[in-house]
Subunit: 207 residues, 2 copies
C-alpha cells in the first residue's frame, strides 16, 4: 500500500478538550506533526512564538495571502488567523501526518484543496456535559459561557461534514481512539487510488 | 454514542485469504457473528451443514426468495447461493457485528438495503503475489488458475466501491488491522446520525 501521509483536521466545540487531545497525540506518538497557525493578534501572556502561534504584522499576513502561502485563513474580531502552507507541505512530504486544530469553515476550505484530508470532530458525551465543563472552568462570565454554547449550537450544524466523531469522555481512551481512527483512515480505499490502479493494471495482463 | 452494530461485508480475490481471516476474526474477538450462506448445491466431502452452508432444495430456496427471506442471492453454475435475512437481523439486534464473506455484486446489493454496511476488500500485496499464492495451492489446473486471475481482473473494477482495503501480507497483522478498521467504522459520522441529531437538538436549547 502506498501509505501516503494524511492531513488531519481536528475540530470540536470549545470545551470539548481538543487542545489537550492534540498535545497528547503529538507527545504519545511520533508520526505526527502539529501545524501552528499564524495570526496578527498580539501574543497573550505566556504564549510562545512558533508554539502557540506565529505572530506577524497585518502587512506580512496579507503578503502571505497574496502569495498563496496560506491553506486557509479567516478574520475574527479584527485579527487574521491562518494556516501556513509551507510547513504542512514539508511535513506531508516527509511522510508525517500533519494535525491542524481548526473550526469548521477552515476545515471545509482545507478539504476543497486536500480532498484526502481527514476531518475529525471531538464532542462531549452530551450538551449538558459540555455546559458543565464550561461552568467548571470558572474563568469566564456567564455571558461568555452562553456565547460559547450558542456557538456550539451553530457549529453542530456542520458535524455531518466530518468523517468520524469522537467522544471525549476519558482522555486516555480518547487519545488512543483518535490514533486508531487516523491509522484506519490510511486504509480507506479513497486514499489508496494509486495502489488500487496499480493492482488493476497488473491484473489486466491476466485477462 | 449509540454504537449500533454493523453489517460487515468482506470481499477479496480468490487466493487473498478471506476465509482464514474471517475464521480468525470470529475466534480472536467475541463481538462478531458469522453469517452462513444458504445454497442449493450438494455438500462437498467434509463440509458441515450450518457451518459451511445451509443446504436446501431448489424449492425451499425459491420460497425464501418469494418471502423476502434473503438479503441477497445469486445463481452460479446452476446453483443458488444466498444470505438468509433472519440470522443477520437477529445478531444485529443483539448488538453483534455480523460478518458476511461475499463477492462484489452481493456486496453492492447489501449496501442498497443496509446503507451503513461496512465494505472491506482484502488484497494481496501485488498481482504477482496473488498468482504465486494460487500456484502454491497446487490443487488446481493451470486453466483453473488462469480463470481465477481473469476473475480477479474483473472483480478489481469494483474495488473503489469498498470503504477500506486491507493487504493480507502477514496473517496476524491483517486480523488485527481488520478488527481495528471495524472499530473505527463505529465512529464514522454517517453511522452515528441518531447521536448527532440528539446533540444538535440538545444544543438548540442554548441558542
Amino acid at each position: 500500500m502506498e501509505d501516503k501521509s494524511i492531513l488531519i483536521v481536528i475540530s470540536g466545540f470549545s470545551g470539548a478538550g481538543k487542545g489537550t487531545l492534540v498535545k497528547r497525540l503529538i507527545s504519545d506518538y511520533d508520526n505526527y506533526a502539529l501545524s501552528v497557525s499564524m495570526t496578527t493578534r498580539a501574543p497573550r501572556p505566556g504564549e510562545v512564538e512558533g508554539k502557540d502561534y506565529f505572530y506577524v504584522t497585518k502587512e506580512a499576513f496579507e503578503e502571505r495571502i497574496r502569495d498563496n502561502g496560506l491553506i486557509e485563513y479567516a478574520q475574527y474580531v479584527g485579527n487574521y488567523y491562518g494556516t501556513p502552507r509551507d510547513y504542512v507541505e514539508e511535513q506531508l512530504a516527509k511522510g508525517r501526518d500533519v494535525i491542524l486544530e481548526i473550526e469548521i469553515q477552515g476545515a471545509l476550505k482545507i478539504r476543497e484543496q486536500y480532498k484526502d484530508a481527514l476531518l475529525l470532530f471531538v464532542m462531549p458525551p452530551s450538551a449538558a456535559e459540555l455546559k458543565n465543563r464550561l461552568l467548571k472552568r470558572a474563568t469566564e462570565t456567564e455571558e461568555a459561557i452562553r456565547n460559547r454554547l450558542r456557538r456550539a449550537a451553530e457549529e453542530s450544524e456542520g458535524i455531518d461534514e466530518y468523517e468520524y466523531i469522537v467522544i471525549n469522555d476519558d482522555l486516555d481512551a480518547c487519545v488512543r481512539e483518535l490514533h486508531s481512527l487516523i491509522r484506519a483512515a490510511h486504509y480507506a480505499a479513497k486514499r489508496n487510488e494509486g495502489f488500487i490502479s496499480r493492482i488493476k493494471s497488473e491484473l489486466e495482463t491476466y485477462r
